[in-house]
Symmetry: C2
Subunit: 882 residues, 2 copies
């Protein structure tokens, strides 16, 4: 005898997924643990292979095996397949070993024919329902099995509605539906030359064959290709008795959660409707009642449901979302799945399940999704209030904010200093907008992607930002903006939600975030499990303090360029850049030195006990200079209007100088350590400021400060060698001048492919590496972060040319290869090399997992991502071991 | 007994270089083959090590070994060391196993003291000469051995000249020099407390110790570090009898070449001076006579010299440059080295030495330097004419040109079309300047480096270009330029030499290039040896024809963007880019299609029989659009002057559109295949044009055309997959429409690090790879080619942070790693993958060697570099085998 090709649900279980498919295995599992699942059986994936091997035919032996199961099912249900009285109806559904949602076919109500439809009518007392079921079945069968276009049936239905003078499906009469079933059968004859089969077995075998065929329909093939699912798995077919919750007042249907999905409280939560079908609960035509009242309608049912809930939760060890139907006082479970929940509930459930001894701490940690809890750390629009969304952009930095529309950075700065609440609205932001951003509650831009300047800065500061809001047309000259017909003037109040990308007119009520005790406890568990250290990117003492509160174990990236942007400093910085001689430049730098020293003093003090990795100046110098276009414009105006010659001359001179700093591709130009090599005096000033601040703190008795100097944009070991010597020299000088001792630690960013590929040589001069994966992604892909998203990346993502935005989720294949190579080569030369990452990816869970896998020591991310990173690092450790 | 530490020249040879050092081994080699080398001996590198091991002392045994050699040398020379009559003088020179020019010390005329100086006077009859020698020796000894600053001696000499009222050294009297020797000895006593040693052995041992010490002077240590020479090699010391060519009319000195270094003719070539020293020949105070006349002064000497020349050339198997001195009718050979020669001579000598059976063809090929022969392929300034150089820039593209200064591309184009000779003078060039460049004889820019746009385009076209000429200040508004005080107006005549970077006022006589028979023959030998194919980068039928003439075996890169720049096309291209709808865009593309078809028709026809690799549109679209600054300026002017509202509105509209195409970093932005994916209709038009041209040629009976479609800037295999499908679809359509068959070949550039790192996946869809090493260098280093050279690369090269400009010479460590990885992964997936390179490096010898080593199939370079590449590829094959 051939192998067994058909299994009762009661014969299978989760472990037979390969043979029974996902759905079949799930139904089997529920059956096995004694839950009331409508009975049925699964035809295996093996049968599917045999079907194809037999030239797309069901062998007679298989047909006989199925028929014998049907006969047993009739007995079990006390119904007759295709019978005139109390007919047995079944559903026929595909179910592959790997979930392929919507890719293959399903047929419901199979077993209806001209006789059994009467039986159904009699059983339910609802003629309209019976013929509607029949009509739907013929249509489904005609379309799925006989491949007749749906439009053929829909046209006939439309004609019927027009004849009856109704527009909604549910208003068509029972008689009309009955006549429609005749028309449908006629369509089948006309289109295929065969009659709609009245024999339920013929219906069944044709349907099973159709499901097997659907394994190789075009969309399934493409889906498998895209998702890299083997083509030879085959699909199983599930044949299950249909049950109805709408056969009378002793019937019902409902949905329940084993715990409260909003709060996580351990109590049965759900809704039901008496005498209704599943879709009625969803459709919202009738208002469902809370599950706690079900005994009023169906006495004793609450206890049954509670027991089922308990069994399923205990079995799956997670909160379950359960669909049930009660047919004539008998409870059937149709489906169970892990229940969706709020972030808060997620934490609550994880903690209490550990306390109840149901799951281990590791399992609890894995249950909490890092991206979910991220939402807990920002203010949001009050979810209980309905407000109209004016426009949508990209949700660039979570949190919500309300304030006055301000288009100009200087105005934002001066109003902000007075305590006004402001939303800075710009086409896009640049480092020049920093003072405005600092003083704004939120940022809204019309251009840019998830990783544009505004987005990165806002995320770093935990400020709300919506970017790339294309509906917003900004007219900077007139200080106004348009969204459709609406005009926004300076000072108008708007609100934005950076978690959803929504923009609202006026003030919208906000809810404050909390980091509750549960969250804190879960994070402490996570800390016990993770191998990766978690540090923060922070440029100010305030950010540093916040990072400490969130559990950061140091500053992995302290940028210094923002310190150059304050309105008291920018003029000095510009003087420094535009100096004609080294002497003039040094004079300007001398003026900056005490300011920088104070910057470092404050941040080192705030982070005492922890390392503070200070990156020397990184962006192109011209970012600090006036805009060329602005200069060109005012020059042209002055000339056209005959302005004063001296003013024209000085503007021309400024233009000439600014132009000499202009670059075609600033991202690949004069920045990072290149600035430090061409103008060593700039880096010397910064290093001196760092060590003078250190010396001052030590003299004040604070001797546990740990500054580390990080050189950006190294691509060749010699660059680092030269600059390292400089740092050591300046440190020696300061030690001598101040008469104190401190440790000198020098490392580098690895953010240029060549640095990763020559990391062994670079490690010769570096005590630590910090992967700058933002820039590394730019150069590895040849994508400009500022341009890519708006110009082509959206299209790449829509067309699935790339699976993810590589600026958000680390590209393991390309960028990851370089990270791995950099780690291996670096440690080869210097086994104790400390290696971290400080790009945006340092706060993104999938990337964090990769960093764990390649053996990094720590990740560094914006303060608000620190809890997320702690959790994600624990996930990585649990999933991948050490 | 200890090892032998001192070797007579006659005891050594080339194979003892490690022990005797380079100089010692060379003198030994000449001595061994019987040439009259002034006798002497070498103190080994072993002795140097012993010196250091003995606490920087010469052991007595070593001193004795040296002294015994000196005594034998006295006998051999018939002179007395430190003697009053006919004194033996020696030179003491360092000589390490690896050449370290100028790093260590030399002492001449050793053996002079208060007695022997009289002997020298008597022997030469020249008292001034004798005391000048003595003065120099004391000074050299004082400085090198006793470490007294040179300035001490120079001040004394200056005082003497002032006292005698002369300004030139040679006008100082013999008496003055004699008194100066006394002063010098006094200086030594004052500065060191010891007397200048009169004992010649003391002089000798102190000098030898000083040479050993100089192995560890600071500059030598740094030199070894930079050049990676081991510190423990040590230096040898050569002690050699001095001979004088200025002891009377039976003395002479001279230089000879074994063949004519200008033409390569096989005849003795050189000059001599009777009664003179070596430096007199060089100084040019007396005019030397041709060597052919030497018998007039020294009968029989020509035959002797000829024999020596023959011996040396036969021995070293190359043309030699020989220094000789005749002391009292006796010929001494002081040095021989491989003679420098012109490119033409280099070819001539190589060929004739093969024909004479002296060297193999392989050796001949290796003798011809690729960079040398490159110069043969371009016109140059007539070397026989002296003209003043006005300014210098970078020698960006060899060749010389004369023409009218024109600052504006359109003016250049219209004058050029009338046949005027033009030098296009711009701050820098962009693709918009193409029409002007096409019509210019040469290009001069004030900005940019060796690989700026102007440089690359000019090299591609074989046009002269000088770039980055910083002395040139261009005032585009007034159509003039300044070089110092000189003003150049439009229409002024200038000349430039792109081989030297020189700029001249007015017309300068030029010489035409030739590719003589010898050159052609050598290249045919090279073709037999090389493994790499050599193709050309060419965009026009003219370039293609030239490439064929130079031996190109195909077009490895046919750029299509230049085809979009013609003044009849640019407006259509702009319309296409700025179209608001796909329909409008398609309309503009329809207009471009026949033009592109004609482009491809012509170039495919010109290259029939050879593959033509056509790269689809690559640069950012905004390069074809008007300049934003220009628009801003005219808009501001119009507004300030109250211009017509409609004109203002249309300019504003244009500005808005152009701005929407602006990018922060165009090199990393919307270009290459990204354009093809976002606007597929553009690539479709180009592919259609290619295959319609192919079909047309086939129908005309020309069926050996081989178009290959190359997709630029791929970073992810899916990009290529999608575009490949498009190409195949269009090809199918054309085949059907035209009723012809042709082969479809699709490949890609590998110019993004990620493409190299995922080359296995990319190879799935590529029939060929072509490494775009220009872009790959940009992204691997994070260097913008347009910005790097002017902003920081010059400093990097000056400070030796990078050994070479990576845009000129392939960086093997970083970029090379990616090339190697790309080749390996690509061939792993597709063993028959055709792999080439089409960046600038494809024509650069060191890079070509690397491409040979990693197993590329071909290189592609500008037509004028094709002969260079053929030669360099042969070099690579000979040096590295297969």
């Amino acid at each position: 005898m051939a192998n067994k090709l058909v299994y009762w649900f009661r014969e299978g279980g989760e472990e037979m997924r390969h043979l029974l498919g996902g759905k079949g295995a799930g139904l089997a599992e529920m059956t096995r643990i004694g839950l009331p699942v409508p009975p049925g059986f699964t035809i295996t994936t093996e049968a599917c292979k045999i079907y194809y091997a037999s030239g797309q035919k069901l062998p007679d032996s298989l047909k006989e095996e199925i028929a014998s199961h049907m006969r047993e099912l009739e007995k079990e249900m006390g119904k007759t397949f295709g019978g005139e009285r109390n007919p047995l109806l079944v559903s026929v559904r595909s179910g592959a070993p790997v979930s392929m949602p919507g890719m293959m076919d399903t047929i419901l109500n199979l077993g209806l024919n001209d006789q059994s439809v009467i039986g159904l009518y009699e059983a339910t007392g609802d003629r309209r329902f019976a013929f509607d079921c029949y009509r739907r079945f013929i249509q489904m069968f005609g379309n799925v099995v006989l491949e007749i276009p749906l439009s053929e049936f829909e046209n006939a239905f439309a004609a019927l509605k027009s004849k009856e003078g109704v527009t909604e499906d549910q208003n068509v009469s029972a008689e009309g539906l009955e006549s429609l079933t005749r028309e449908y059968k006629q369509i089948i004859v006309e289109k295929t030359g065969i009659k709609f089969p009245q024999d339920p077995y013929e219906q069944l075998f044709m349907s099973i064959a159709a499901v097997f065929r659907s394994w190789n329909n075009e969309r399934a093939i493409i889906y498998r290709k895209v998702n890299k699912i083997p083509d030879d798995l085959g699909t199983a077919v599930n044949v299950q008795a249909m049950v109805f919750g709408n056969m009378g007042d002793d019937c019902a249907t409902g949905v329940m959660f084993t715990r409260d999905p909003a709060t996580g409280e351990n109590c049965l939560y759900g809704e039901y409707l008496v005498n209704a079908q599943g879709e009625d609960v969803v459709a919202g035509i009738r208002t469902p009642k809370p599950i706690s009242q079900i005994d009023d309608d169906l006495p004793g049912m609450y206890e049954q449901l509670k027991r089922v809930a308990q069994i399923l939760e205990d079995h799956y060890k997670d909160m379950q979302d359960i669909e049930f139907t009660i047919e004539r006082n008998k409870l059937y479970i149709l489906q169970t799945r892990t229940g969706k929940r709020t972030a808060q509930a997620s934490l609550e459930i994880a903690r209490s399940m550990v306390n109840e001894g149901k799951i281990s701490k590791e399992e609890a940690i894995l249950r909490v999704k890092p991206e979910e809890v991220a939402r807990l750390l920002h203010r949001g629009i009050d979810p209980n209030i309905q407000v109209e969304v004016l426009a949508r952009g990209l949700p660039a930095s979570p949190g919500a904010a309300t304030g006055k529309v301000i288009f100009n950075t200087r105005v934002a700065e001066s109003l902000g200093e007075k305590g006004e609440k402001i939303i800075l609205v710009r086409p896009e932001t640049t480092p020049e907008d920093m003072p405005g951003i600092v003083h704004a509650q939120g940022i809204l831009t019309s251009r840019g992607g998830m990783t544009c300047h505004a987005a990165i800065v806002a995320r770093g500061m935990g400020k709300a930002a919506v970017v790339g809001c294309e509906a917003l047309k900004i007219d900077l000259e007139e200080n106004r903006a348009f969204i459709g017909d609406l005009v926004l003037y300076e000072g108008d109040i708007i609100s934005i939600d950076g978690g959803t990308g929504a923009v609202y007119v006026g003030e919208v009520p906000l809810v404050e975030p909390e980091m509750g005790e549960t969250f804190k406890e879960i994070l402490i568990w996570a800390d016990e499990m993770r191998k990766l250290g978690v540090e923060a990117n922070a440029d100010t003492p305030e950010d540093a303090m916040r990072a400490r509160e969130f559990g950061a174990e140091g500053i992995g990236l302290c940028r210094t360029e923002h310190m150059f942007m304050g309105h008291d400093r920018l003029p000095v910085v510009q003087k420094m850049i535009l100096a004609d001689t080294e002497e003039d430049r040094r004079r300007a730098l001398d003026a900056l030195l005490p300011m920088q020293e104070n910057d470092f003093y404050a941040i080192l003090k705030a982070m005492r006990g922890f390392p503070v990795t200070i990156r020397l100046l990184d962006p192109p110098l011209h970012e600090f200079l006036p805009n060329v276009e602005d200069l060109v414009r005012s020059l042209a105006e002055m000339k056209a209007k005959g302005g004063p010659a001296s003013e024209i001359a000085s503007t021309e001179e400024m233009l000439r100088k600014v132009r000499s700093h202009q670059e075609m591709n600033p991202m690949l130009g004069m920045r990072g350590c290149r600035v430090g090599i061409v103008y060593p005096e700039i880096y010397e000033m910064q290093v001196r400021a760092i060590y003078q601040a250190t010396a001052r703190l030590i003299k004040e008795g604070i001797d546990d400060v740990k500054p580390e100097v990080m050189i950006p944009l190294v691509g060749e070991a010699r660059e680092l060698e030269v600059l390292r010597e400089m740092v050591e020299q300046v440190a020696e000088d300061v030690k001598k001048e101040q008469g104190v001792e401190f440790e000198v630690v020098v490392g580098t960013m690895i953010e240029i492919p060549r640095a990763a590929l020559t990391a062994d040589e670079v490690a010769e001069f570096a005590q630590f590496f910090s992967f700058g994966t933002n820039d590394l992604t730019q150069t590895t892909f040849g994508f400009s972060r500022d341009d890519a998203e708006a110009k082509f990346l959206h299209k790449y993502l829509a067309d699935k040319i790339l699976p993810e935005n590589p600026f958000a989720v680390l590209d393991r294949k390309g960028v990851g290869y370089l990270v791995k190579t950099g780690v291996e080569l670096g440690r080869e030369r210097r086994p104790d090399l400390e290696i971290g990452v400080c790009g945006e990816h340092g706060g993104e869970p999938s990337s964090i997992e990769f960093f764990h896998m390649v053996g990094l020591d720590y990740v560094s991310c914006s303060p608000y991502r620190v809890p997320v990173a702690r959790l994600a690092a624990a996930h990585a450790a649990i999933r991948n071991g050490n």
